[in-house]
Amino acid sequence: MSLHDGGERTLTFAGAIQEAMAQEMERDPTVFVLGQGVDDPIGFYGTTLGLAERFGSDRCFDTPLSEDAVTGMAIGAALAGLRPINTHQRMDFLLLCMNQLVNIAAKSCYMFAGAMPVPLVVRGVVGRSWGQGPQHSQAFHSYFMHVPGIKVFAPSLPYDAKGCMVAAIRDNNPVLIMEHRMLFNVQGPVPEHLYETPFGQARVLRSGDDITLVAIGHMVMEASRAARQLAEEVGIAAEVIDPVSLAPLDMATICRSVQKTGRLLVVDNSWTNCGATAEIVAQVSEQWQGSRPVQVKRLGFAPTPCPTTRPLEVDFYPHAASISKAAFGMVRGDGQEWNPERVSAKEVEAFKGPF
């Protein structure tokens, strides 16, 4: 999976998703997109722009505000041989679809001994900033990781935004793609041709010997900033891993890194309790049969709902400096403290409302 196998061409994260869907719709007439606002002038953050015009209103269409039933109908259409992509402006609204996704989509293949697979793609956007508040900021990837029968992607690079979408569309199972709003305008190399990001294969974004930073979704950007800060300011070499695929999870890559560093810091864009960070740490302790003890730590949302007001919201999220600080404490140990300066996160600071 070389990021540069397409030469120098770059796209935004949103543009990469749009291109993946358009190319797959071109290739496979059974692929269609349904969801609130997918054919409106905004085009679902730009990711569905032009699809209705190009492929017609029966392949890219708006739906009533009926998430539960729309999910069920997408499942029905999938059973009938089509490949639906169902969008949700916020992952928070996915809670209305849980029965269909968990009780049906995730079980159908198994329950009917392979006779009723559900090739369904569900896209859930995670909001942040500008007062998204408690009900427009939640990331529920761990809810789905918990359930056998659903695959979960959380790309952080535009390259994988495209690759995950293509792989998800082609897969014969329900696949949830978690897309963080702060990533949509991020630019990166994206090959024009079609390619798949494999399930269950993590990406090592930076190598280092002192500590392993595993970060999820938007936190990959913050962890990468932290790794730079650690290297430049205190000479700590952090290895940064983006799991990309959360279910299945590539524990081999993570364990290999931990074998080398002996320290694991997992950072999530969600709560830590019973979450993806808990799962990764637990699997490391189960699987890692190394020669020395491993130090582990997790960072995530504060254990509260997300507050709306900016000064509290700032403290709610992990960020580069809080990651650096935690990593420093683990590597230098002995109660040594370092309070690194806050690193600017352009994609967060530049984001303005109204929504």
Partner: protein, 319 residues
């Protein structure tokens, strides 16, 4: 409009409408300063349903509304400085800044906290009304909802329960024809919502012309039915129009998903202007001056209020 409408009523309605309109115009004017770091779903253009219905309510009556809640909050008598401070994310806000514009609340006037997940509040209102009835309490529950929310399963499920148990509740559907950028005709084969729900066994009425007095009369009939000890639920659909973008302070006619012509009839009936024209110039002047002063004080209050302290992040997770 009837000629007989008395001037005290006109003044009262005008004061409430003008106040909401001006508060939101101030929000829109200030928005580019980034002092309000919160999504705002403005009610500009659709203040009348809240004003008409709330004019008839007893202080003890309970209202449930949506994230587009500024008009309802103010019409029900919610505290203005606390609302503005909430939009600013300040500690003197009605939810100490933790909620923002989408989560207004004022329990003093029985304005329940609003949520941002469409239609979610509808069963809460039904359950609340059912519980009040069971406890023999006289106050009534009014549940405001948007046209989009009628497409959610929980809407049908709640109506069915309300009809079954004869729950005394007034549903007020503010049908502005849009859910974000989607016209109701793109979301339902039947745009007349009263038609759509006619089979539930819930009496209903529809006000189509944007006339605030007709809204009020329809609400009076509806409330009488809901207050009747032998009564039950009632569904009132009011056609109205949002003039601003779905969320935010701007106009969005240029986007092309709707045109002014589509809502010409409703626009021609903007009750703020209509009522203004019916008032004596002096009383109009008096109302407007008082409202302007009140608004200035409210924004000043919000400006001066501090942000919550860091430890507030961890407060109120549990009761």
């Amino acid at each position: 409009m009837e000629q007989t409408t008395d001037s005290a009523l006109c003044e009262r309605l005008y004061r409430s409408l003008y106040r909401i309109r001006r508060v939101e115009e101030e929000v829109a004017r200030l928005y580019p300063t980034d002092k309000i770091k919160s999504p705002v779903h403005l009610s500009i253009g659709q203040e009348a349903p809240s004003v008409a219905v709330c004019d008839l309510l007893e202080p003890e009556d309970v209202v449930f509304g949506t994230y587009r809640g500024h008009a309802l909050y103010l019409a029900k008598g919610g505290d203005l400085p606390a609302m503005v401070a909430e939009l600013y994310g300040k500690v003197d806000g009605c939810a100490r800044g933790k909620g923002g514009s989408m989560h207004l609340i004022d329990m003093q006037v029985h304005m329940m906290g609003t949520t941002a997940i469409v239609a979610t509040h509808i069963p809460h209102a039904v359950g609340y009304a059912w519980a009040l009835q069971r406890q023999g309490k006289p106050q009534r529950v009014i549940c405001f909802l948007g046209d989009g929310s009628t497409e959610e399963g929980v809407f049908s499920e709640s109506l069915n329960f309300a009809a079954l148990k004869r729950v005394p509740i007034l549903f007020v559907c503010e049908n502005n024809g849009y859910a974000i950028h989607s016209h109701i005709s793109a979301r339902s084969a039947q745009s007349d919502i009263v038609q759509r729900i006619s089979g539930y066994g819930i009496p209903s009425a529809r006000v189509e012309d944007g006339d605030i007095f007709r809204m009020r009369e329809a609400a009076r009939t509806a409330l009488a039915a809901v207050r009747d000890p032998q009564g039950g639920p009632y569904f009132l659909e009011i056609l109205t129009c949002r003039l601003k973008e779905h969320v935010g302070p701007k106009d969005d006619w240029h986007m092309g998903y709707r045109s002014r012509a589509d809502i010409q009839a409703l626009l021609a009936n903007d009750p703020v202007d209509q009522l203004a024209a019916r008032l004596q110039p002096e009383s109009r002047q008096q109302i407007e001056t008082a409202v302007e002063q009140e608004i200035e004080r409210a924004f000043q209050y919000a400006e001066e209020s501090p942000f919550p302290e860091q430890e507030e992040l961890f407060q109120d997770v549990f009761a």
